[in-house]
């Protein structure tokens, strides 16, 4: 196996507050190989975006990485200073956010935004950068790229803007892209275009992608492996087909059951009782045990086994062993 592009070990993010320390990310470990798409799913507040922001060094204080290690291409990055991190960001790690309008500068032509990024990270001339900007826009499928480089962000539709953001994330040829809900603000047909584009670019360039989303359908179609997060912890990690059709963790199982599916007809949807606990009121033991149908006394006292890479798929004392559900 090739060396992973991104390797996270026991990553913990803490937010000190007046009422104690919150841990939106708590002991999370995973790797992403070159050319691999890792889907990170979970409901709001599960810590999926927080983990992404920790990798790219965009945690807003007082949130900070308080434990664990983050390696990109073998080099540790969580200990880097602000200046060193700034050089890395955009160069080694590209980022695609949910809302394409707020991630582009409304006052700059998109060509200038692309060349600015390239000049900051690559050792090339301005003329070369302009040439590459047009090529980058062509690559992400913007028609008439040589004219559109002089357009402003507001002149593009939502889907086109997200293509520009992807071009921007890719223009310095990073080895890792973090895509945080890249299609949530888009319509279904445009979403299909953007997902296809991400997959194509990732395959052609061998870029690793961390695809953060709450949409299981998007994960099923785009990801190679999936990490399911619950209350800041990794609940389950494994190949996407395995995890979605034969979930081992009761939470994953519940999540799949709550998703309306054509094959399931119009029966009542499965409900996970209750709601995800607040970070300042996490239960003892396994965070999922109050909502878990299989909870036993061990679950109430000791947190589920941590998922280490290679062994174990679900952070659960009593993983489900069952046939396909979907």
């Amino acid at each position: 196996m090739t060396d992973p592009v991104l390797s996270i070990r026991d990553l913990t993010v803490e937010i000190p507050t007046r009422h104690g320390v919150l841990r939106p990310v708590n002991g999370v470990s995973y790797d992403i190989a070159p050319g691999e798409v890792l889907g990170v799913v979970g409901e709001s507040g599960a810590g999926k975006s927080m983990a992404g922001n920790a990798v790219i060094g965009l945690l807003s204080p007082p949130a900070h990485v308080s434990g664990g290690e983050i390696h990109v291409n073998g080099a540790r990055i969580d200990t880097l200073t602000g200046e060193a991190m700034r050089r890395l960001r955009g160069k080694e790690i590209g980022m695609v956010f949910q809302d394409p309008l707020t991630s582009l500068n409304p006052l700059l032509r998109i060509g200038d935004q692309l060349t600015e990024t390239m000049l900051a990270h690559l050792d090339i001339s301005r003329a070369e950068a302009s040439k590459r900007a047009v090529a980058a826009l062509e690559e992400v499928g913007i028609p008439g790229a040589s004219e559109r480089v002089d357009s402003f962000p507001h002149e593009f539709s939502g889907g086109m803007r997200q293509r520009v953001v992807i071009a921007l994330a890719l223009c310095a040829e990073p080895s890792l892209i973090i895509a945080d809900e890249p299609t949530t603000a888009l319509d279904v047909s445009v979403q299909a275009q953007i997902i296809a584009l991400l997959k194509k670019l990732c395959r052609e360039r061998g870029t690793a992608v961390m695809l953060i989303t709450h949409d299981m359908g998007v994960i099923a179609e785009a990801a190679d492996r999936v990490a399911v997060m619950y209350a800041g912890q990794l609940a389950e990690l494994g190949p996407v087909r395995e995890v979605l059709t034969r979930p081992h963790h009761p939470y994953t199982h519940g999540l799949m059951g709550s998703t309306p599916l054509a094959s399931r007809g119009r029966d009542r949807l499965h409900q996970i009782p209750g709601a995800m606990p607040r970070l300042d009121a996490l239960p003892e033991g396994c965070a999922f045990h109050p909502r878990c149908p299989n909870s036993q006394s061990r679950c109430q006292t000791s947190p589920g086994p941590r998922i280490a890479d290679g062994d174990g798929r679900a952070a659960c004392w009593f993983p489900l062993k069952q046939e396909a559900v979907a």
Binding site: V188, V218, S258
Partner: protein
């Protein structure tokens, strides 16, 4: 005779610049046709779903149905009463009492300064009805506790707030509830809870829903009849099984193919081409023809009529 009869409904918005700009910049007035000649019927005690992408006019239809917007042309009749044209105030009020609405964003649709009790009973209190014990009873019906009545909206999660919105919608004992993307802001597990609750309440109170959504799987789960909108026009209307097993309009086919599906691991499909055109200058003829794989000359020239094909109503020249 359905509960709701919508005939040739059209809504045009004036999106012109102010007159001075028009004079100085020599611009014409600009009009956006959000809904164009839409007709359908909602049967009593059924769930009619409108699906479509952004800008397809689904929310505009919902707003015209509850009377938040008036139609430019055509009519909305609820139990035989046209709210926009009816003169008898008592009759209008009687119909309005039967309609309620649930909005998408449960954070924006509850007054943060009101207690939950006051929020819930407002549809009845504003008409001077007796509201004693009503909030507590409704809260229990939607799966919250009676003591929650004294709390403020910020003390609840998104799913719980949507339950409060549902309780408020139920307070005036309506017959018809317009649900505009009621679960789009919710997580899947919470969405499942809210959808189940809505199904239960429908059976319990004999409700009729107009369910507006962009999420095809949710619509398939909830609806008895589905209308697909594209650029303000109804392109196809069918029962869920017919629509999902045998989509007839090329746009419906594209929409179904583009929707991500759980079973399709690593699916590689040619993504749809093109984007929704500008509604201020919609294409001539069939609005979908610039993106349509079947498009012929006639599609660019004539707007297709609604035809019945194998149990579905379809607006397409090419469907046989």
């Amino acid at each position: 005779m359905g509960m709701v009869n919508i005939r040739n409904l059209t809504r045009v918005f004036d999106v012109s610049k102010p007159w001075l700009n028009r004079v100085v910049e020599r611009r014409e007035k600009a009009f956006l046709t959000a809904v164009s000649d839409v007709s359908f019927e909602i049967a009593e005690r059924s769930v009619y779903a409108l699906v479509g992408e952004s800008g397809s006019g689904k929310s505009t239809i919902g707003k015209m149905l509850v009377g938040l917007l008036g139609p430019s042309e055509g009519s909305v009749e609820i139990r035989g009463t046209d709210l926009a044209r009816e003169k008898d105030a008592a009759k209008i009020d009687a119909v309005r009492r039967d309609i309620q609405m649930i909005f998408q964003d449960p954070f924006a649709s509850l007054n943060p300064r009101w207690r939950v009790r006051d929020i819930i009973v407002e549809p009845v209190a504003s008409r001077g009805g007796n509201t004693e014990g009503m909030a507590e009873r409704l809260l229990e019906q939607v799966g919250l506790a009676a003591r929650d009545a004294g709390k403020f909206p910020h003390e609840f999660s998104g799913g719980q707030r949507q339950r409060i919105c549902i309780a408020r919608a139920l307070a005036s004992e309506p017959k018809l509830i317009v649900c505009d993307e009621p679960t789009s802001a919710l997580d899947v597990s919470v969405q499942a809870q809210v959808l189940n609750l809505m199904s239960d309440l429908k059976d319990e109170f004999g409700l009729t829903y107009l369910f507006i959504s962009h999420d095809l799987t949710v619509v398939q789960h909830m609806a008895d009849r589905i209308g697909v909108l594209y650029l303000g026009r109804l392109v196809e209307e069918a029962d869920p099984d017919a629509l999902f097993d045998d989509p007839k309009h090329p746009y419906t086919q594209m929409l179904l193919a583009a929707a991500p599906q759980l079973g399709n691991f690593g699916r590689e499909v040619p993504p749809p081409t093109g984007e929704i055109p500008d509604p201020i200058n919609p294409p001539t003829g069939c609005a979908y023809h610039p993106r349509c794989p079947l498009a012929a000359d006639i599609c660019a020239r004539d707007r297709p009529e609604m035809r019945t094909v194998r149990g579905a109503r379809v607006a397409c020249h090419m469907v046989e």
